[in-house]
Amino acid sequence: MSRIIISRRGLLVAGAASIGSAMLTGCDPLFDEASMRPLLDFGQLMSLRAHRLLLAAQPLVREYTLADISPDFPPNGTERPDSDSYFDLVSSQFADWRLKVDGMVNRELSLSLDSIKQLPSRTQVTQHSCDEGWSAIGQWTGVPLAHLLQMAGLAPQARYIVFHCLDELEEGSFYYESIDLFDAFHPQTILAYGMNGEALPVQHGAPLRLRVERQIGYKNAKYVTRIEAVDALGPIAGGKGGFWEDRGYQWYAGL
């Protein structure tokens, strides 16, 4: 094994040279290197741990009044799933649509939209913040995820809840997202079938979407069709816990 000895002066010169060359090209060649990944991941871990510590008492996000609802609400991601099967679902008012709850649960569930609407519901007017910087305010009505998970009964080894969606944001890649149990059992984490007093519109994820209010836009999966309890995210799709996560975005998006 070879050892490389770098003098302090050598390091300074090398550092200055690499910063200099990086400045000429917008810094990216220096900072995009995979060697920086562990440092950036460490930063993500710090944010997650700090937020979990601060939010240990599970406070609710601010809820607004109906008068605060924004005049418009831009849709994130897919605005209309392109498949024939989704076309059929919409044209039949989701009569044949079922939400599956499976994975590490004691009882697998298969629920129709009507039966979900019979479950206890929560209505909340909250702020939706996109990682791009814009935000909007909307009212959501749905069933608390905690209630569904209690119906199904989580197995003790379950650590994450994965949301599988009907839309392919990229050819061959269905949208999916995941949260851990800390967020899954938060009272404002709901599966919404209503928006601003009406049925959830197609562009916002009809018939059912996730609202995870302490995280930003892309965590709020739309067109949810299956909820899976798992002990690890690695085996699913790209292994990072979500469509955007598989493309370099942060799994924890509370900031």
Partner: protein, 286 residues
Amino acid sequence: MSERAAIMAVGATPARREIIYRHSVLVRVTHWVNVLCLAMLLMSGLKLFNIHPALYWGNYGYPGVPTVLAIDGMLDQETGQPVGITRIGDHNFITTGILGVTYDSDGRPRRGAFPLWATLGSGLALARDWHFLMAWLFVINGTIYLLAGLISGHFRRDLAPAAAQLAPRHILSDIWNHLRLRRARGEAAKSYNLLQKLTYLVVIFVLLPGMVLTGLTMSPAVTALFPFLFDLFGGRQSARTIHFITANLLVIFVMVHIVEVMLSGVINLMRSMITGRYAIRPERAS
């Protein structure tokens, strides 16, 4: 500072050049860590701005909502030429080449609010990673600086204006000396003048903490715990706007700071911020 300043060496030459120990090691280290943090926070922040180059006021904001500031690049309808437009309130300014549309080293126009060379992170995900990592370093570094400054008496001794400095005549002469670019000598050079003190106090206790608080207001997790942040800044989008404005004020501060260093002796001041040692220019013989 003068009461604690250790006189490191007194020149034996007739020039009477006195070297004082000006900056503690803690001030020097936190200063340079801060330089790194602010540079990378600014560049990654400009990248984040470029992703959605519009600022709003209030709780919500998205395309279609009136903007406080918006920067866009478009093609002129008549000539087909790229035009950069910066919109402040209701007023449009053509900023082609600087904002909205900039030219790369080959002279090709590129659409984007701030030029690529000023940004860090090839995409939104990476810019966010850098911004938040450096924000952690900035907050840890700043906390160490603040605690040390309070405990050691640095703020009280070196930054709090002395009673005599607040006399109207003194204030006017300070401003006059600044305008004439006249630098302090002798005893007066051993402490900051009033304008320096006030500027540093505003930066340390208003602008930098303001950056942190407005940044935190954009986190839906942090505001779950501290919803009063929305009230403090007038909503999430207002906080984003104030974050941007405050960043601009810090850039202005840094530019003035650098110009002042240039005018007051780069080598002496750089040495004082690296080794701590600062040479006092003797009083003019009168």
